[in-house]
Amino acid sequence: MNGTPRASQLRVVGCHACGLVCEDTLDGVERGGRVHCPRCGAALHRRRPGSITQAWALLVAALIFYVPANVLPVMYTSLFGRGGDSTIMSGVIGFWRGGSYAIALVIFIASVAVPCVKFLTLGLLLATSRRGSRRARRERAGLYRLIELVGYWSMLDVVVVAVVSALVKFQALSDIEPRIGILFFGLVVILTMLATMRFDPRLIWDGDGE
């Protein structure tokens, strides 16, 4: 429990876009109406509208795309006449077997660990906020900041596939091309980032100090 007052108690609202603290005049506004920040013009709201529902929808869509992202090949490699598809996990295993443990670990963290941590954390935050849970609020707030910070690193594999396919273009000799899996993987990264942005971390604290 913390004595610092919250915006709702002081009847103020902080602008999401520029941070200006404004008087809360949202009560008199009927549904669908808007109050704009006098400094930057963004719409003022106490909580991001539709936060939990939209975050759930984006999260479920990301989870669905995560399956083809892992099962389907992300890259086709043909070197000196020998060709084959590779998936994200087969890339990690390839590095590991070849003795490049550090790189295998980097790709594993960015492509497997980070998305999974994001799925679990967002699911947990959404479920506990909907129930208005009071447990471990500070820790949950920290988890949110963590996934906000590390979320975009999953884009790593997309960059790797792009650079490698741009470089290895020697016609019949050797060729590397992107495959459909990387599209699903990119979608997973974007959808989880959008889900993280839609979730309003202030929901974690609702009911605290009031």
Binding site: N2, T4, P5, R6, A7, S8, L10, V12, G14, H16, A17, C18, G19, L20, V21, C22, E23, V35, P38, C40, G41, F95, G98, I103, V106, I107, A110, R137, R138, A141, G142, R145, Y152, M155, L156, V158, V159, V160, A162, V163, V164, S165, A166, L167, V168, K169, F170, L173, E177, P178, I180, L183, G186, M193, P201, R202, I204, W205, D208, G209
Partner: protein, 208 residues
């Protein structure tokens, strides 16, 4: 509508604090949730200088090849543009769009908008289009992925190095510089520019 320039609201938990003077380099943290409320940050001169440096690094990173390879004597090289374009072939071309946005277009917009806004702020006024520019900067920040791009290039080099001859190009060093500069200039603290350009504020950029 009444506004309160002496108050600050934590964007992570809605706690309200009174604005306190911050010593240079210091950061104020929220007592309730632990998020950073605000940082003292750069002064306008340094901010603008670093933005111009970032613009130069951006041009080099985009014009020069980031990696060079050679296979049985045949050379090839990749720039950032060429890498994004490599994804744009075949039925999955659309995945090239988010990549090109996050490693090229978004950093470009960030640098351009900041240079515009900062150049005017140094003269003590808000640039034309200040509000949309600032809102766009806040919106773009999470989609700027120069650091991911750098790590991706390094992993690509490692991936190919045992098959072919691979050498880093000048674009790689520029990307590394760009990464450091973008993190310095276009972080969460851009909102500070609203306060710095508040009519009647001290234009040198030191907060009272």
């Amino acid at each position: 509508m009444k506004t309160f320039s002496d108050l600050i609201v934590c964007e992570h938990c809605d706690s309200v604090y009174r604005r306190q003077p911050l010593p240079p380099g210091a950061a104020a943290r929220c007592g309730r949730c632990g998020a950073i409320l605000r940082r003292a940050g750069l002064d306008l001169d340094r901010w603008l200088a670093l933005t111009l440096a970032a613009a130069i690094a951006f041009v080099i990173a985009n014009v020069c090849p980031v990696v060079r390879i050679s296979m049985q004597g045949i050379p090839n090289e990749a720039t950032l543009w060429k890498s994004a374009a490599a994804l744009a072939q075949g039925p999955i071309a659309c995945v090239a769009v988010p990549l090109a946005l996050s490693i090229i277009v978004v950093p470009f917009l960030q640098i351009g908008l900041l240079a515009w806004v900062l150049a005017h702020a140094r003269a003590g006024r808000r640039a034309p289009g200040f509000a949309p520019a600032m809102r766009l900067l806040v919106l773009l920040r999470p989609w700027s992925m120069v650091e991911v791009c750098l790590l991706g290039i390094l992993v690509a080099v490692a991936k190919l190095s045992h098959l072919l001859q691979v050498a880093p190009g000048p674009g790689l060093w520029a990307t590394a510089g760009l990464m450091a500069l973008v993190t310095l200039i276009a972080n969460r603290d851009v909102q500070r520019l609203w306060d710095l350009t508040e009519p009647g504020s001290n234009p040198s950029g030191t907060e009272a």
